[in-house]
């Protein structure tokens, strides 16, 4: 289409997988490779007076969320849900994900992140870490992962975490907002996601179990200890560094903003399962959808929201992070995020409802 001016052209190129997007991807991937696998940024951090490259990364990350957050707050200023949610996510990043760990270290306390939980923050339930923490932090680790997170997931859906608290979601929904439409909506991508995310969850649970067993047995099982150590190293390399960092954030300009959250994050997998049993759902206003597809286009999790909306089907999808953008972009106000008092399970899977739902449901025409 027409794009007046160089800046408009550049912006479009960046957000539609043009050369600029590829260039940015290359830069981001290079950044993450240098960050995770080299000491390139250590002297940079030291020269800025920061204690490590991770502090530098945390600072950059927080700045990206703040700058993106200001942009998003302006863009969606008419939508109170977006304003409240974005403000919270910015606050959590600044306070819990950046400042408090630094302050704790200053007071010779453990560098502890209250906004992350197992299994996303894997070491939170790693016995050789958690059992050496002061009691308060250890209790928080266990209760947070095993009680608090799932409980809030039942009441509010996974959104309480994935789009209100988590830094990964925070970056996606602030700095990444202009790239959210790039997530694939195909049914193939959905199939892949269902396998991959639960596979990562299974691996992380297995690894945690092994860590506990190995910790319990101690020096009595040196082979297991070695195996577990290697397993842990591979997990850190593959899942933490590669999938959450290089792929998850590096490929934003090509694959959309939630590659990690959608396909790999074990925390999202747990909360997704909880969400299916809980109260959260997206309610569809009956017979109001005009099938325009903006909801699907701007779903960062690749959910074909339109398929539900045009079939008058309220729904709860495990992957939905409740960012609320489908409801925001809908030009007919068809969608509303809700914590329903009664659980309303989907009648059928997407494959079954599209596109025959209206024909299969009781006809409005009263054939006689």
């Amino acid at each position: 289409m027409v794009r007046k001016g160089k800046s408009a052209w550049l912006l479009h190129d960046l957000t539609h997988r043009g050369p600029t997007a590829w260039l940015l991807t290359a830069l981001l991937v290079a950044f993450y490779l240098l960050l995770y696998f080299t000491h390139f940024f250590t002297p940079v951090a030291h020269s800025l007076g920061l204690s490590s490259k991770w502090t530098l990364y945390g600072l950059l990350y927080t700045l990206a969320i703040l700058a993106g957050g200001v942009h998003v707050l302006r863009k969606y200023r008419h939508n109170r849900y977006q304003v409240v949610r974005t403000s919270v996510v910015m606050f959590v990043q600044v306070v819990f994900a950046f400042s408090i760990p630094e302050i704790l270290q200053f007071f010779h306390q453990p560098e502890y992140y209250f906004s992350y939980f197992w299994p996303l923050k894997f070491d939170d339930l790693n016995p050789s870490v958690v059992f050496h923490l002061p009691l308060f932090y250890a209790l928080y680790s266990f209760l947070g992962a095993l009680l608090l997170a799932p409980f809030l997931g039942v009441v509010f859906g996974k959104r309480w975490y994935c789009s209100w608290v988590c830094g990964c979601g925070g970056l996606a929904n602030t700095a990444g907002d202009g790239l959210r439409h790039l997530t694939s909506k195909s049914s193939r991508a959905w199939k892949f996601e269902k396998i991959s995310i639960h596979a990562v969850l299974a691996v992380s649970v297995l690894l945690t179990a092994l860590l506990f067993v190995s910790y319990g047995l101690g020096s009595r099982a040196p082979a297991l200890a070695r195996f577990t150590y290697n397993f842990q190293t591979v997990y850190a390399f593959l899942v933490v560094a590669t999938l959450s960092g290089v792929v998850g954030a590096g490929l934003y300009p090509l694959g959309g903003t939630r590659i990690w959250c959608r396909n790999f994050c074990p925390m999202a997998a747990v909360l997704g399962l909880v969400q299916k049993l809980g109260r959260f759902r997206i309610t569809v206003k009956p017979n109001m959808c005009i099938s325009c597809g903006l909801c699907s286009k701007y779903c960062e999790m690749g959910i074909d929201v339109r398929a539900y909306a045009q079939a008058n089907q309220s729904f709860t999808r495990a992957s939905c992070v409740g960012c609320g953008l489908c409801a925001e972009v809908c030009p007919r106000g068809v969608l509303r995020l809700e914590n329903a008092r009664s659980h309303a399970p989907q009648r059928a899977s997407l494959v079954q409802i599209a596109p025959l739902a209206s024909a299969a449901s009781p006809s409005p025409g009263r054939p006689r």
């Binding site: 849900y81 017979n287 109001m288 099938s291 597809g293 106000g333 809700e338 596109p355 006809s363 025409g365």
Partner: protein
Amino acid sequence: MRYVIIGNGVAGVTAAFTLRARDAAAEILLLSGESDYFFSRTALMYAFMDRMSLRDLEPYERHVYAEQNIRLVRDWVTNLDASRRLLTLQSGSSLAYDRLLLATGSLGDAPDWPGLDHVREGAVHFVTLQDLQRAESLARTTREAVVVGGGLIGVELVECLVYHRQKVTFLVRAPWYWPGALAREEAEIVSEHIRRHGVDLRMDEEVAEVLAAPEGRVRAVRTKSGHEYSCQLLGIAIGVSPQIAWLRGVKTPPSLGRGIQVSSSFQTSLENVWATGDCAEFSANGQSLVEQIWYSARRQGELAALAMLGHQVRYDLPIFYNSAKFFEIEYTATGEISPSLPGAQTFFCRLPGREASVRITERAGSIIGVNMLGARWDHSIFERWIAEQRDMDYAISHLAEAQFDVEFGRVDLASVSGAYREWRARSAGTGSPS
């Protein structure tokens, strides 16, 4: 049994899927000259505004048609011979049918403005995919645009052109914007909003003449008030009419009026031929009725398919509802919403601090229409109240049930009940019926 459907818009596609759901063995052919695949016509503006690609406008993944065993044919129909149950296509081939459904939709109305026939380039409608392509190709070389017609398509086209940073003049013949659906106070909210987007919105303006440059590109529009508005693009959005011109020349034309005349079970005057959606014309109580909105097309498509399958179908006009969006202002209408209804009383109030309003109309103690601007409402609740003949007191005190705003964003209804009490007191004071 071979079903042939002409037109792959929402009426035709809904009919095709309904046929398939009820008859697994039928042969179903879906014809379109406009597009390879069904797309959401209501979303044309989002393609023009770069928010969607054309592919994004397709409501179903393409493999669905093969899975449902619905054959898609891209061609225009040039002849219909109902005596031989045969169609002739523009490509030259013929196509036999057992049962035929005409779902050809609407086209933008062509006005008879003097000078328009000299315009070879620059005048566009905004209804079809081809209209979109024309508008897109013109946008490149347009600095100033004029859009004529104070309805929904007009404002959508205006929004697109504003997005492309054109200087837009919006000419409306009526004294206020969209008087068929909006009261003057509502139109003021909408007009102010449109103007705040930099649009030069002019009421009471009628086109007198269209002026073309020597090479044929539109150059300006002169109105009956004597103003001349320079433009390189002229958007014509004065209404739509059933696409039936092609039927006038065929071997066996069905009975035509404003649209293709059908019975309440969608049957045309020809045997084994039905019509549905925008192009169908019903007669109810001696009045001719053509429904041209997305929702009615979808509903009619489903019912026409049932009729073709041999079900006894009677299309009763349902309670009207519609929705729209004027730039950022959302709009929901249910029931009778014309601002001047005889024997009716209307309560109207603006919501403080927002571009939003509530209008409820009551007749003989029952509400008959609800017209809402600026907030989100569930029209199906209003439909129920109208069907249940609830009165205005009930509607006002239960308004919260119909709210559909985002979390944290619900409009405050206290001001509505306050305004309503005042209004009641006033109308009691003047002795009008309560």
